[in-house]
Amino acid sequence: MGNQPSQFTEEELRDYEDLTYFTRKEILLAHEKFKAISPEKVNHNKNAKLSMSKMMSTPELSSNPFADRICQVFSSAGDNTGDCTFEDYLDMMSVFSDQAPKSVKAEHAFRIFDFDGDDMLSKNDLKQVIQRLIGFNNQFSDLDMEQLIQNILEEADLDDDGSLSFAEFEHVIDKSSDFTNSFRIRL
């Protein structure tokens, strides 16, 4: 990035600095990375929209079982395709950075885990989360899965309504010291 002039104006950089958890250097680094995904497209338009499959080919997301959900959550396209612009990518990396506070991370984690988008983690959501966690090569029997979900709900579902609201989710996350460590992608 050193010798070639930046694709951003001063104004934009300042905005990004104000609106993410990154410093200027990191923003430029993020853009380098974004460019590496699809150089010709991004060179043409710095804020080009890249398809979800392209996004998922990055090393950071390629082996992540929640990659598609991450793209969808951070995508501003709105049509659930998960296509991301650079700004979306920046948002994503900002949330996953070390500097982002736990509450912000928790909020996004909740949305990633909320597959049907009804603002509650229902049994169905939990089932999908677990399945993705253990990989598709491993299977729990239906009984075990049922039991596991029951256990989770027993722990976290304080109001007994059979699904987790954000408040309940955040409560659990608050007590976990591992969350900030694991919900992190180094730029």
Binding site: E87, E107, D119, V129, L133, F166, S177, F183
Partner: protein, 936 residues
């Protein structure tokens, strides 16, 4: 004013969010489709509840993309919020409070809010819009002091960002850490961060030592010591003499003479350069400041020679370092008078700046000084190196202790928060289980598997417990027998290891130190030794040297080999004991620590045996030659730890590159059972132990080899790369799930344990063992600590009294009681808090039930309402059809049907002004509901 307000707003409190959401709940109008859903599925109604609403509002907006929304974190932040739910339904303007005129905000608040935007879960475009909005909004300019305060905060913020940017740029091994994290997850990366932490700690320690011990020694010019005078009469030693026994120090064992002998010894015997010396710490290495022996016992800027003539002079009192010497000085008054007049008196400035020393000693009157030079040269500026040596040692160990304890406490706090945590083990596993940083397909597979196993283990733990409780008596008996046997076996192995090290150390000593064999206790042993000696007296010079080298390193090689091999044996043995997997790791760790510490203990006990020997004729000899005590035992010990440290590091290199690397290569290119057998996991606990062990050696040796922390820092630097290689190339990710928090606390606890154990011998040596006569800053004293006591006695009386008071029981007992009271107080506070948590939790559950109950009632009520309405409508239709039949001209429209009466709910017309807000909201709510119902 704004300070408090800002704080309030910056906290952006959840409570506010809730309230806000609550008001939204009432203010929002319900579109028909939602009510429709609710009729079909009453549980959907739950999403309308305030608790669900807080996030819901944001998120729902997000899915319907054509909206413009902000999440209002503060009540002062005003923004219009529009929701559009699908195109078929009418747009509904959500009433918010966009009243700019009422709460005008000032610049500082705006700034604060702009900084809060980044925490909002909306897209960049919206964030930017929001920022612009905030920037363009009318705002109050801050005045006077407020302005300054805000400016200062802004500047501070800027500096902090710059600083953090700088730090990230400086951050060592950033990309390495990322690679490791990508392949092995956060648990393993915590180990590498720990390595880095240790390196920085060592560097800091070395900086302290360098600044206060090594640098003065290098820069300042050491004052000339008294010459060795073998013919001087013996001196009475006040300190060591008791009532029935008087000890005289003969001139040839005076500190000066011993020193001379020692220097001669080094010069003659060990002066030629050899690469071997570099590893042994002997020869030319011994003469460097690497080891304790070369540090001076003089006080800089204070000349003992000059002192002879100035018994009455002020600075005299600082002569405690050479306490008995001053006694001698009386006798030696005439010695070297010429010298003393030339090289006279004082100051450290003199030495440092090479001032010509033309000051006259007899003038003690400060007013007589004509130049500042003279003034300075008359000031009693001195640097007391021995005292500094003690103080720096204490400071360093305290610093280490504090930094470890701080880290441990931090981890401990995390664990405590989590600790309640037994409740949340499933949630932790599911929601925090995945390492988002992993970016390697293969590791991801392994992670999947590990998570699967962990979850399954957790699920079946009840089954295991059941099994364990239902073991038959026979099996139980057998198992206990096996465990006892294996524990005995482990104990025997430890003893054997210790014995082997003991014997090898003796052998090695007898080869190196020619005096050692005269120890009569080992007569039979000596015969054996004699044979070895014959064997070892090789032909050529080089051969001889290598043999000596071999013997010198023999015990350490043995220790290192044991450290490598015995844990494997332990690993094998523990299979038979049938512990739970987690306990197996702990047990193995425990035993390995036992092994390593026992070998160190043997080593130290051997050292102690060598140096602590009571010297019957201590008056005539500088050191106990007949016993094999080294001339300068401190340097000797420093050398031993140096050797051990080096060889430990060398084995890491050897094992990693020449044993494990081929192993990994073979395993990678073969694909059978054998390959699987020799393939290695990255066993975290083992690697942690390696590092902690070398750190322990460093701590043990620091007092005797001040450069050891620097060496440790450098070697840990290389160790990082070795371990990185071991991790990335040699091993595959472990199937055991390492969590960052768990492994972090593991490192720190092991480190704390080994620190507290390693400090015991050091403290003992400082307090009890007599320093050698011929070298080091404490020569001629009975113990190192004596130097500190002497310095203490020089303090003003008041200060002494105060410090003494701290030591008395009249201080200690009240202090103790107060501490206990505090302890009890905090204990009861925590107990109360725990109780409170329980109560609140119960309350939460109860509320949940209440809510559930109310929801059911509400949905029931809505259903009834619907039916009621249908009935009314049907009746009305019936009526209408009858009336239209009769009076066709009236033409009553559907729209004019009055809303149905709500049972018990007050009609909006009846709502008078004096009603509370709450009820008016209720009215609104109900009337809206009825309207909705009416729409259906």
């Amino acid at each position: 004013m704004s300070g408090g307000k800002e704080k309030k707003s910056s906290r952006s409190s959840k409570a506010q969010g809730w309230e806000e959401a609550g008001s939204e709940f009432y203010q929002e109008s319900y579109p028909g489709d939602q009510m429709d859903n609710i009729h079909r599925d009453p549980s959907k109604l739950a999403t309308l509840l305030p608790s669900k609403q807080r996030v819901a509002t944001n998120r729902r907006g997000r899915q319907a993309q054509e909206f413009k929304t902000t999440r209002r974190r503060n009540s002062t932040l005003t923004a219009t919020r529009t929701f559009r739910r699908g195109s078929h339904y009418q747009e509904i303007q959500v009433a918010t409070l966009p009243d700019l005129s009422e709460n005008l905000i000032n610049e500082s608040q705006t700034w604060e809010e702009i900084r809060e935007i980044k925490a909002m879960p909306v897209h960049m475009a919206q964030k930017r819009e929001l920022k612009n909005q905030l920037q363009n909004a009318t705002k109050l300019r801050l005045q006077g002091f407020e302005q300054i305060k805000w400016k200062r905060r802004k500047a501070w913020q800027k500096i902090m960002t710059k600083w953090s940017e700088y730090l990230t740029k400086m951050e060592l091994w950033r990309s390495s850490l990322k690679t490791i994290e990508g392949n092995f997850g956060t648990g393993v990366v915590a180990y590498f961060v720990f390595l880095r932490w240790l390196m920085v700690l060592n560097l800091l320690i070395f900086t302290i030592i360098f600044m206060f011990i090594i640098l003065p020694q290098l820069v300042l010019i050491e004052p000339k010591d008294l010459p060795c005078d073998p013919n001087a009469p013996p001196v009475f030693d006040e300190k060591r003499s008791t009532a029935n026994e008087s000890i005289w120090i003969y001139a040839n064992t005076s500190v000066q003479c011993c020193r001379e002998t020692y220097l001669n010894e080094i010069k003659h015997n060990r002066s030629e350069f050899s690469i071997l010396h570099l590893f042994q710490g002997t020869g030319f290495m011994e003469k460097t400041f690497l080891f304790y022996g070369m540090y001076t016992h003089q006080i800089y800027g204070y000349d003992p020679l000059a002192n002879q003539q100035q018994q009455s002079y002020g600075s005299n009192s600082y002569n405690e370092g050479t306490s008995f010497m001053s006694n001698r000085n009386l006798d030696n008054f005439i010695v070297d008078e010429n010298n003393s007049t030339n090289n006279n008196s004082t100051p450290f400035m003199n030495a440092l700046l090479n001032f010509s020393d033309n000051n006259n000693i007899t003038t003690t009157d400060l007013t007589n000084f004509t130049t500042w030079r003279e003034f300075f040269s008359k000031l009693d500026i001195y640097y007391d190196l021995p005292l500094a040596y003690i103080i720096v040692t204490i400071v360093c160990y305290l610093y280490i202790l504090v930094s470890i304890v701080k880290a441990v406490a931090h981890e401990f706090k995390d664990r405590l928060v989590e600790g309640e945590g037994q409740f949340y083990q499933y949630c932790n596993l599911i929601f925090c289980g995945w390492d988002f940083s992993l970016h390697n397909q293969k590791s991801a597979q392994i992670k999947h598997k590990a998570l699967f196993n962990e979850i399954q283990g957790l699920m079946h733990i009840k089954r295991y417990e059941f099994e364990r409780n239902n073991r038959t008596r026979d099996i139980m008996f057998k198992l206990i027998l096996i465990r006892v046997l294996i524990n005995i076996l482990v104990f025997i192995i430890l003893i054997v290891c210790a014995a082997v090290i003991f014997i090898l150390f003796n052998i090695s000593l007898s080869v190196i130190e020619p005096n050692f064999e005269t120890v009569t206790r080992y007569r039979s042993f000596n015969v054996f030794m004699g044979q070895i000696k014959k064997f070892s007296s090789g032909t050529s010079e080089l051969d001889q040297q290598f043999k000596i080298l071999f013997y010198e390193f023999l015990p350490y090689l043995c220790i290192v080999i044991f450290n490598l091999l015995v844990p494997i044996l332990f690993n094998y043995l523990i299979q038979f004991e049938q512990y739970s997997p987690l306990f197996v790791i702990k047990m193995n760790l425990f035993r390995t620590i036992g092994l390593r510490l026992s070998s160190l203990a043997v080593l130290i006990s051997r050292f102690y045996y060598l140096i602590s020997a009571k010297n019957e004729n201590s008056n005539t000899e500088c050191f106990n030659e007949s016993y094999g005590t080294p001339m300068c035992w401190e340097t000797f010990i420093g050398q031993q730890f140096y050797k051990l440290f080096i060889i430990d590091f060398a084995t890491h290199i050897l094992v990693t590159f020449f044993v494990n690397f081929p192993r990994a290569m073979i395993a990678r290119h073969m694909n059978n059972a054998f390959a699987r057998f020799i393939e290695m996991d990255f066993e975290l606990s083992k690697h942690v132990l390696d590092v902690v062990y070398s750190q322990t050696i460093c701590w043990l040796g620091t007092f005797y080899a001040p450069f050891l922390p620097a060496i440790a820092a450098v070697l840990i630097f290389f160790m990082f790369y070795i371990k990185k290689f071991a991790c990335l190339v040699n091993s595959k990710p472990s199937t055991i799930l390492y969590r960052a928090s768990r492994s972090n606390s593991l490192f720190m606890i092991i480190l704390l344990l080994s620190f507290s154990i390693s400090i015991i011998p050091v403290v003992y040596a400082i307090a009890e063992i007599m320093p050698s006569r011929s070298c080091g800053p404490f020569r001629g004293l009975n113990s190192v600590w004596e130097r500190a006591i002497n310095a203490f006695e020089k303090l003003p009386k008041l200060l002494q009294d105060i410090i003494f008071f701290f030591g008395t029981s009249s201080f200690a007992i009240p202090c103790f009681i107060v501490l206990i009271l505090f302890l009890y107080y905090y204990y009861s506070v925590s107990a109360a808090n725990k109780h409170m948590v329980q109560v609140l939790k119960n309350q939460l559950v109860l509320e949940g039930h209440d809510k559930q109950f109310l929801l059911n009632r509400l949905s029931l009520f809505i259903k009834q309402q619907q039916e009621y309405q249908k009935r009314i409508q049907r009746q009305f239709y019936d009526q209408a059809s009858t009336t239209t039949n009769s009076q066709q001209s009236q033409g009553i429209n559907m729209d004019t049907i009055p809303p149905p009466l709500l049972p018990r709910a007050p009609r909006s017309e009846t709502g008078s002004n004096d009603r509370s807000e709450r009820s008016s909201i209720e009215i609104k709510h109900h009337s809206r509901m009825s309207k909705d119902i009416g729409d259906i």
